[in-house]
Symmetry: D2
Subunit: 328 residues, 4 copies
């Protein structure tokens, strides 16, 4: 079996809330306990840290020690552009220039911290940059602000040899996000024209937008080789349910892993879920094991056989493959 | 213009949070200030109170005085079956008998408080009663528990001459709720077979389930005359965005108001929104004014004319009506 | 392995068209050839016939002989209430009394033919009974007509000892159907109050309505034991794509088969697809083999083990079960 | 009121079918009668013609005369890449090189015919270019074929001074199309890098993909000034229902017309519907009148006032605007 890099988002192991139960469904878990749990999941060698929630200037030293103690890499930092009141009406694309400067500074500080932790990736999800109602935003102006802010972040990151993966999501917390789908995020990345700016596909965000992730991976290859990072989870197709991988779908996961392999993806396979009511450790571990099982199947079948199947373009042959090779 | 009863959910005027920003997008507002605001909206004569958030044993006296001072009725109480950790895996349908008893007690206490406040309606939304994953719940058993719990609530309410409106929602906070759509909620209400149990349609919940609310109102008439209560908001059709009424849709609102009138609905027209980033007062007031404007148009056109239009069953005639009568 | 009855809809083996290519994507196939193909699929012992397309007064004799020759039962007849211009604005609920009478006659004639073919089931899909636009239908009146028409069909069928399974579908060909979801169809069935009227779940129709089919089966058990028939196919969750079973989903199929077993379902497991561009025989056969494989897994695991899993109500345990038992 | 160019797709006036009723819901209408009807709609000065259905080598002369006689321009030709069996598994991106050549030839012939009719626009909708199932297509290879074919079409069109508007649609007739959304179609257009290649937004296709059309228009401006053509219709947000404009939504139409004006759109405002059961003439005319009414309102309010509203970024102010300015 090939060596692949598995990772999780640290906070997924802790408490999670929603709009009805703001104190969360579970009890808060000690950060060091969460790191220990992460390290104990088979094959996991990296963790993603969320700004504010997991990491800031004061805690970077302790985090560095903890990562080292557990042999974990910092697979990415996700700057907090969504969990503070000041970002509520937008961060990188805010109509308030002061807020935009703060947002850029936040991202840049996280690039610095990433380097300090030995990392080289920022996963940038500008969740509050978007709008909620028709006739209540100036899309052209706000998108220009977004491009300007991203350019500033990218220039700073490049100096630090940090790459930025832009994570899209069609909606939530806004009803419409500016980085919404694979293709529009690729447009932004290509417009910036910098080698260190690419795209992160969160599988659930893509499903929500009716994307077939295998095809999204191919699209990123075709128009710029821009797949920089991957977040894994599952959902019912109409909301970012952030469920355990493989709870609903099967062939789509196998297919997307094929396309990552085929297009030379060398990045992390990172889990991103919201186990509201479940045991966090168990839920994340189950996803890691599912993806690893799919990888093992992929290696067993081999890229050439899969390519031969794809080129038959015959859903009956595909159904036979699923039934005889993917299911028990 | 006929006299109709307009109402709002008190908490909509205050701070609102989501899973990313648990402290909320705005600052908390003083409860008495919120009541004052509610009373100042043109035509609003009732407010709905949410358990835990707005009302409990300790505050009932002060609330009663405040309502009286502002000439407001208690249009309903919405028992808190969703905003406490103990309800996280279900309340009325919890697998834990102790939790079910607590949930029933909570509802019954709210029936008592409703009476104390001069109200006669409980709006029951069992938001945590459902499940998230396939293969992780015993639907038959849990639905039976739900029926038993609801029966207990209904018997107690009947003693207090209180009616219960069951509010459905297809999903959120669970990926699947037991009271999900108009028809399945009606099945539950009819199975209980008690005169004081009916249904509340939240327009956004219905849109989310691809229901045409006008038809849902007709369905409730046909199979039991069970429309007890109405919550108004708007959305994009695939999530409970809880937006200002009329932000997206137009003819559907006019149609549903016709059907309420036609089927003899005498209840409240109550607003239920989540103005995350907007001024709460302005957002709720805008919805009230929109519904009132639709009501004025309805009265102007007249039920007979609308019925005549419906019976033409001709979308071209309908389009002409929309263009010449509903829009400017 | 238990004995279960597998069936297919005959026409699925033939040519299929859509609104852009009305002549169909494939060449028409000889009816007798299709019957031969159906009989050759492992374990298939019944076929469903569609009125107009497959069966009418003139062809009933030849069909009877053909079925006998191939040892096939008539698992159901699906009366044509959708493929003739006269039904275009409604059939059983048409505003034209003459059309309603014709529609009832059509169904009754199919009940007679079913008996003649040795069958005892009518699968009734009133696809044209619904509406397309808000403000262009009289829902109360049309639903009453639908109930009256269905009652007439049911009385006639009862005389012939034929059962009627009402098949719902949220939309298509109308944007809104009167029989739209499990629960509203159950309301209709229960309102009719006849033992020979129940419900057919088409898995794709249920997915389209965001139903979890396992739960829908439980609902039909709880409120009347009304699951009469099953149609199998898969889709992406937002349209009736009518794909090969198992092309997208896995655990949901396993779960629904469990609930059918658990609730004592004794009817047919029938395939209903639209292999627009695929070889019909191959596509239908692949679905049959998938369902049979799930059934074999179900028998191997056993109802008790599954029930124990469900009662854990733990998605992590469920994920482990899926990974270790359902996938390769 | 400014002069704007309104157009319709000719075939929308005729018979329309679906997969259940392949002969169509209405009777075929004489082509010359349809042209006469088109010309009689207030303000309509152009018609779009569909290859095979409306125009080919043999009929071009008669069509030219008819257009002239009625004072109509050929606003576009839509090459038939979807209504023939040979395109069933793809046209411009077919795995069969012979089919790809035929598809390119078909488009090029339509460019020639457009010129002959005095037109300068091809509206290219490659509806069969996509796939239906996961694990049954080679996305990279097929997208490359699509790019090559489009380049050939564009080069030929450029010689004839014809522009090509690429029309996207997320799905139908395939479950996944290669030109699916605004952004991915823009990626294709920009990759081709030719001045005569741009994008057509069909409003219903965009709604289906959860796009807010106003923002889509802004996106096309920002990344290449590529809005070449517009198709208007309405739907419920989850399928291409192809309904009369304004049957569901209101503010979104007003907003998108603002953005077209703001970004300097000079093209056609063309109607594209499927009035399955309605009178075609009445349905299309109703849409034209709706768009014209929105245009009149737009002119009355003025771009500056709308821009001032957008820059308030206040949904409450927007709701007031809708209520006091857009509705009766």
């Amino acid at each position: 079996m090939k060596t692949r890099k598995y990772s999780i988002i640290l906070g997924n192991l802790g408490n999670t809330c929603d709009r009805f139960l703001s104190s969360g469904y579970k009890e808060p878990l000690d950060k060091m306990k969460m790191i220990e749990q992460a390290a104990s999941i088979e094959g996991v060698t990296g963790i993603e840290l969320v700004g504010s929630w997991d990491i800031d200037d004061k805690t970077v030293g302790a985090m560095k020690s903890a990562l080292k103690a557990h042999g974990l890499a910092c697979s990415s930092i996700i700057p907090d552009l969504f969990a503070q009141k000041r970002w509520g009406r937008g961060a990188l694309a805010s109509a308030d220039a002061k807020i935009r400067r703060q947002a850029v500074a936040e991202v840049n500080r996280m690039s610095d911290i990433a380097v300090e932790l030995g990392g080289d990736l920022i996963n940038l999800w500008p969740g509050q940059d978007g709008y909620d109602y028709p006739l209540a935003a100036d899309y052209l102006q706000e998108r220009k602000w977004l491009l300007d802010s991203l350019a500033e972040c990218a220039v700073h990151a490049r100096k630090r040899r940090v790459r930025i993966a832009l994570e899209f999501k069609m909606k939530e917390p806004r009803t419409h996000s500016y980085l919404a789908r694979t293709a529009d995020t690729l447009l932004v990345a290509n417009h910036l024209g910098m080698e260190n700016v690419g795209v992160c596909i969160d599988t659930g965000h893509a499903f929500l937008a009716y994307e077939n992730v295998g095809e999204s991976v191919a699209l990123l290859k075709l128009f710029g080789n821009k797949l920089f990072h991957m977040h894994f989870n599952d959902n019912f197709g109409s909301w970012d349910d952030d469920m355990i991988v493989g709870s609903i779908r099967l062939p789509e996961y196998f297919e997307m892993l094929y396309w990552m392999e085929k297009t030379g993806y060398k990045g992390w396979f990172s889990m991103d879920q919201y186990p509201y009511r479940e045991d966090g450790y168990g839920a994340i571990r189950a996803s890691v094991l599912f993806v690893q099982k799919m990888h093992a199947l992929l290696d067993k079948v081999g890229l050439d056989s899969i390519e031969a199947l794809l080129r038959r373009r015959d859903p009956v042959a595909t159904a036979d493959f699923i039934r005889t090779t993917l299911i028990a």
